[in-house]
């Protein structure tokens, strides 16, 4: 991830109408709390970067299908971000990341800056081995669900009407960054 990638990514998200909040990994729960509506369901955040990333308590992380139906917001990890397109890669895993990101009005997606790649070819270099070796299922989501089939552009055709990206800096970078804030 380069600084240029981060600014490209943020610019693309902005043009897609996706809101972004940034912070260190220790601020993760707080940032999610600000971004998520009620009720919220989620999938426990994985990732190898730090154990410090966590979800606020009000996010139900072992939801029933009824909870999912009733939820306004779904909170999940993204495995990868593609700077040039403003895309996030959602893994359709057994923990339910796909339904939690899909059957809701707002998707709050957590991405670590270290997982940002510059462009589409990088994303498919990453996907190739995962697909071949682990038969992974990945959805590259770019902005909210959209349709123009009803006579005008509308967000939230089947999937989320809104997307919010929580972009997490690596902790040491976060420390450096505090001075500017």
């Amino acid at each position: 991830m380069s600084v240029a990638d981060r600014s490209t990514f943020k610019r693309r998200l902005d043009s897609l109408g996706v809101t972004v909040s940034e912070g260190g990994e220790s601020e993760c729960a707080e940032l999610i709390d600000e971004a998520a509506g009620d009720p919220a369901v989620g999938v426990a955040l994985g990732g190898t970067a730090s154990d410090a990333t966590s979800l606020p308590d009000r996010v139900e992380t072992d939801p029933t299908t009824a909870d999912l139906r009733a939820a306004h917001t779904g909170v999940t990890d993204a495995e990868l971000g593609v700077a040039e397109y403003g895309s996030v890669a959602i893994e359709a895993d057994s923990a339910g990341t796909e339904p939690v990101s899909l059957f809701v009005d707002r998707h709050v997606v957590v991405l670590r800056e270290a997982d940002l790649v510059p462009d589409m070819p990088d994303a498919f270099e990453w996907l190739g081995p995962k697909a071949r070796d682990e038969s992974s299922d990945v959805v590259f989501a770019t902005g909210p669900s959209a349709t123009a089939d009803m006579g005008g552009l509308v967000h939230g055709a089947h999937g989320p009407k809104e997307v919010h990206v929580v972009l997490l800096r690596e902790e040491e970078r976060a420390d450096e960054g505090t001075a500017d804030e």
Binding site: T65, A92, A95, E98, P121, L127, S135, G151, G159
Partner: protein, 754 residues
């Protein structure tokens, strides 16, 4: 076929008129928007052409080793726990799918995401016959399912429906007193209704845009999220895809992901690119007993054991297309819709006229010919005018006009037995086509002969051509619409004029370059003035010019699908030109459609080295002037704008419509550059094609369509005080009809006065 067929000629014109009136405006607004979006979106890529080449190479490789890829994907999918079924045809596929769905699964409802291939095999009808309810979940497809209508566009199937029409449809189907009206409310209504239908579904069906053989990963390009829900909410996933969707590896997805949305609707990427290696790992939500936790046991990383996946690969004529040298390229198609959106005729009528059983737009001719047969392709193949604007738009570089030409040729030949009474033409015309060929096709295809005769007898021929009763007769016999002005033949052809004036004005030993000005049929016999202007311009720039008597390029017969006749013409034209080329002379062409023959279509008609030799030596007249000026020729010898005094009443302000084929071969812009260099203020039209497209607009079936296609030009240039210039003869005829006065060729604007 769900739309009314376009069988007889009378009903064809009526059907087109009706579609233009009822659906034309909605289709035009949407497709033109998509087309502009494509230009903008692809323009943002750093290396658009490189990406297209990469995509093309992947497709060429994949189709070349398709049987191996089928074996490989079978192994990959089976290793993942899924099943692959290769269906020979629609009936075979439907039998497999209905047995699985209705019998094994005992399913009540199947939800579908959008898939043209599933429409091709008509699986909905097959399932419904077995008692399975089928619900289209793509909003556009759902609207069409409710309305019982066919898609009018392969990507945006309901573009012909207005918002008001959808509101009325919902009111009627769901018995609503107060139906939703805004796009937002209509969408939310559909979201709720379809959401419930998805929750209660037993089987989910998707298509696949691409399938990687190395892993069994399928890629779905969507925006609404319905494909994601279709897969996630049901435990049985059936993917239906043509065998041509296979590509070797997951990494090969990348260029297609970057190109498909941009090429189609002008989106850099669609909202969702699902790359699934099914059966997918997501837990199946239990919407009936929804108190259970969504996710299964923690730590279970593999697919939900309940999930089942079936990949149904469809042959249905594709493997035979692969063995057909001319139709094979069709299999590279990624169904992006760029060729529909870039097409002037499609913009006016949409897929209900410009389409077959399933597919629509320029490439549909290849698909329908290969899958359904020539008779289906023949119903709409005429609507490709060969303007070639789809060629640069196609992300995999398919020569779509050539596929249309080949199919037209086959249709012509197939009609031999059914048509008669052409003894008159058999005697008169020198073509190489079978007896029985349609007379209108022949009249246009042999335009060179007609023009030659017309010129010989010009005063009489022109008067007769204007005589009402004769035009009515000609309309009946040849299909040439009487509302069109026919070209007026000149009594002295350009070649004769040049000889009479004593040949070249710039002697060989004083010349900077030597050129042969190609006396194309239109310039030589009809618009001699632009030929004379070209001679003056070239000579002013120090060129030794020759105008020898040379045969026609073969463009008119090629446009009618008369490939044998066009090939002989190409051989003759080449034979006439090659000694000049060998003598180091440049070949300068005024008529862009003839230059496009030399630089593009001859690749299909001549041996490769002949094609290359002529293509490398040929120039558009304005391109040639541009090159001469760039290499130091004096622009002051040409005519600069002169306010109020010249033939250009408005002085330096010019409106320029570049010829469609000139743009495709990359010589549309030279005229602009030369005119600007001389100080003209040039406004360039953005319309892909004027609508005349050679002979198309003359045909009585298509006269009104042709005028409709020209409408954007009329809007842009109709009340301009600029001097209108256009390089193509047929563009000139069309602009004359649209604007009320004939434009001049750019070379007539810049050539010094006589």
């Amino acid at each position: 076929m769900r739309g009314p067929p376009m069988s007889s000629d009378a009903s064809k014109a009526d059907r087109i008129r009706e579609l233009m009136a009822t659906e034309g405006d909605a289709v035009a607004a949407n497709t033109r928007g998509f087309n502009e979006g494509r230009v903008e979106s692809t323009g943002r890529l750093d290396d658009y052409e490189g990406l297209k080449d990469e995509a093309r190479a992947i497709k060429e490789d994949a189709i070349a080793r398709l049987p191996d890829l089928i074996d490989q994907v079978r192994a990959s999918v089976e290793a993942n726990g899924g099943t692959v079924y290769v269906a020979d045809d629609a009936a075979d596929a439907n039998r497999y799918i209905t047995e699985l769905t209705a019998e094994e699964r005992d399913a009540d409802r199947l939800v579908k995401s959008k898939s043209m291939t599933s429409e091709e095999i008509e699986v909905n009808e097959a399932l419904e016959a077995e008692g399975v309810e089928v619900v289209e979940t793509d909003l556009g497809e759902w609207v069409l399912q409710l309305a019982d209508e066919a898609p009018s566009h392969i990507v945006a199937p309901a573009i012909h429906k207005s918002r008001e029409g959808i509101s009325e449809l919902f009111a009627e189907r769901f018995d609503l007193d107060d139906p939703p009206e805004t796009a937002e409310d209509l969408t939310m209504f559909a979201r709720d209704r379809l959401g419930k239908l998805v929750e209660g579904a037993d089987v989910g069906m998707t298509g696949a845009n691409f399938i990687a053989a190395d892993s069994g990963t399928m890629l779905l390009v969507t925006s609404e999220g319905n494909a994601r829900k279709t897969v996630t909410a049901t435990d049985t996933h059936v993917a239906v895809a043509g065998v041509e969707k296979l590509i070797p590896t997951v990494e090969d997805f990348s260029p297609f992901v970057e190109l498909i949305g941009r090429s189609g609707t002008g989106q850099d990427v669609t909202s969702y690119i699902s790359t699934l290696t099914p059966p997918v790992d997501s837990p199946v939500p239990d919407f009936q007993d929804d108190r259970e936790p969504l996710a299964g046991d923690e730590g279970d990383a593999s697919a939900d054991p309940d999930r089942d996946f079936h990949l149904v690969l469809i042959d249905n004529g594709r493997l035979a297309m692969r063995d057909d040298e001319e139709l094979k390229e069709t299999l590279y198609c990624i169904r992006c819709s760029a060729c529909s959106n870039a097409c002037g005729n499609f913009q006016s009528v949409g897929g209900h006229a410009f389409g077959g059983e399933t597919y629509s737009g320029g490439i549909a001719t290849g698909w329908e010919a290969g899958i359904e047969g020539l008779d289906v392709a023949a119903e709409f193949n005429d609507l490709c005018t060969g303007c070639s604007r789809c060629v640069p738009a196609c992300p995999v570089g398919i020569d779509i006009p050539w596929i249309n030409t080949v199919v037209r040729d086959r249709v012509n030949r197939g009609e031999v037995d059914s048509r008669q009474t052409d003894w008159l033409f058999e005697e008169l015309v020198p073509d190489e086509e079978p007896a029985g060929l349609d007379l209108g096709t022949r009249a246009v295809g042999n335009y060179e002969t007609v023009a030659k005769l017309g010129s010989l007898t010009a005063p009489v021929a022109n008067r007769l051509a204007d005589a009402g009763p004769l035009r009515a007769l000609a309309e009946r016999v040849t299909g040439i619409d009487r509302r069109r002005d026919l070209p007026e033949f000149a009594s002295e052809p350009l070649v004769d004029w040049f000889e009479r004036r004593g040949g070249a004005a710039v002697p060989e030993d004083e010349a900077a370059r030597e050129a042969v000005l190609y006396p194309d049929t239109a310039t030589n016999y009809v618009d001699v003035d632009r030929g004379k202007a070209a001679v003056r311009a070239l000579e002013a720039l120090g060129v030794h010019v020759r105008v020898p008597d040379l045969p026609g390029s073969g463009r008119p017969p090629l446009s009618q699908g008369m490939i044998s006749t066009a090939t002989s013409a190409a051989e003759d034209a080449y034979a006439g030109l090659v000694t000049h080329v060998d003598a180091g002379r440049d070949v300068v062409v005024i008529e862009p459609s003839d230059l496009a023959m030399f630089r593009s279509e001859y690749e299909k008609l001549l041996p490769e080295s002949s094609f290359e030799r002529l293509a490398d030596a040929s120039y558009d007249v304005m391109e040639y002037c541009f090159g001469l000026l760039k290499n130091g020729a004096d622009p002051a010898t040409l005519r600069a704008p002169a306010e109020g005094t010249g033939p250009v009443a408005s002085g330096k302000r010019v409106a320029y419509h570049p010829h469609c084929q000139a743009r495709t071969i990359g010589v549309g812009e030279h005229a602009t550059a030369v005119m600007e260099r001389l100080g003209y203020d040039v406004r360039v039209s953005e319309t892909e094609c004027c609508g005349m497209a050679g002979s198309f607009g003359y045909k009585t079936d298509y006269y009104e369509l042709s005028m409709d296609v020209g409408e954007p030009l009329q809007e842009q240039f109709g009340d301009t005080d600029r001097t209108v210039v256009a390089s193509g003869t047929s563009c000139g005829e069309q602009l004359d009809a649209l604007l009320g006065s004939p434009p001049m060729h750019p070379v007539e604007l810049i050539a010094p006065r006589e």
